[in-house]
């Protein structure tokens, strides 16, 4: 996995707490922080993207604005989900009507 150096200064008390965790769990301090940070970042990212997609689904934000905020890839994917969700409903309605006629 490609990595990038990311330095942060932490309060001494927090480092001491990390030492305790590391000793009790018998895990590497950096690895433990990396795992916890990854979990938190994943959850926060998903939560924020969910909020953004809710605004998008409700027509409160444009695709262009999303693209400016989080990039083209995410904006394109959100557009795909919206288009196919609408298409699924449309096809469902049309096909359902056809079936009803066929069996009435």
């Amino acid at each position: 996995m490609e990595t990038e150096q990311f330095n942060i200064r932490m309060p001494k008390g927090l480092v001491q707490d990390l030492d305790i965790i590391s000793k009790l769990l018998k895990v590497n301090k950096s690895e433990w922080v990396k795992t916890k940070l990854a979990e938190e970042v994943h959850e926060e990212k998903n939560k924020l993207l969910m909020e953004l997609s809710t605004l998008y689904a409700n027509g409160m934000i444009s695709k262009e604005k999303i693209e400016k905020l989080v990039g083209k890839e995410v904006a394109d994917e959100m557009e795909s989900i919206k288009v196919i969700a609408q298409k699924s409903v449309k096809h469902g309605l049309e096909y359902g009507k056809k079936l009803r006629k066929l069996h009435s």
Binding site: S80, V83, G92
Partner: protein, 166 residues
């Protein structure tokens, strides 16, 4: 209502979604459903566990004889999706059939190449044909939302908005 000629290709996510809200059997009665051996293998893996998805997978596998199960060579590969999904994509291309999935990445990378829908398509069809009342359909959508952890995602909001109008 008798079976129709309409044929859909279903992936693992859709089979799980449909069975989780107890409408897979009804969908199998109404439509011809095709899936792949790789999907069956994925379900067999799920079925090894005793959790929620394991139980759902076991129920789906009990209905296995009601699907058409095929294997398909991969002639055209999309690099952003897994091999199981690439097989389903190639099957949809070869057979010119619509594919139903709840995998958003899969939908995003195939929507310009094949006809693709989310599972909610069946919920709308069954409501429009009066198999469900509007209230029952909205309850099913809530169940699906919970099991899929959709929260207020785009699929949920758009489908709810439409079902509310019926």
């Amino acid at each position: 209502m008798a079976k129709n000629s309409e044929n859909y290709i279903l992936d693992t996510s859709t089979l799980i979604s449909l069975e989780s809200i107890n409408i897979l059997e009804q969908v199998l009665k109404l439509f011809s459903i095709t899936t792949t051996n790789s999907v069956i293998k994925e379900l067999e893996e799920f079925a090894k566990h005793d959790d929620k998805y394991g139980k759902i997978a076991k129920n789906i596998l009990k209905l296995k004889n009601k699907f058409t199960i095929e294997s398909c060579g991969i002639r055209e590969s999309i690099k952003y999706i897994e091999s199981t999904d690439n097989e389903l994509y190639n099957l949809a291309l070869k057979k010119e059939l619509p594919l139903v999935t709840d995998e958003t990445k899969f939908v995003h990378h195939t929507r310009d190449k094949i006809e693709v829908y989310f599972t909610t398509v069946f919920l709308v069809i069954l409501t429009e044909t009066k198999y469900f009342t509007k209230k029952e359909a909205l309850n099913k959508l809530e169940e699906l939302r919970n099991i899929r952890n959709w929260r207020d995602n785009i699929i949920y909001l758009i489908t709810k908005n439409q079902l509310d109008k019926l």
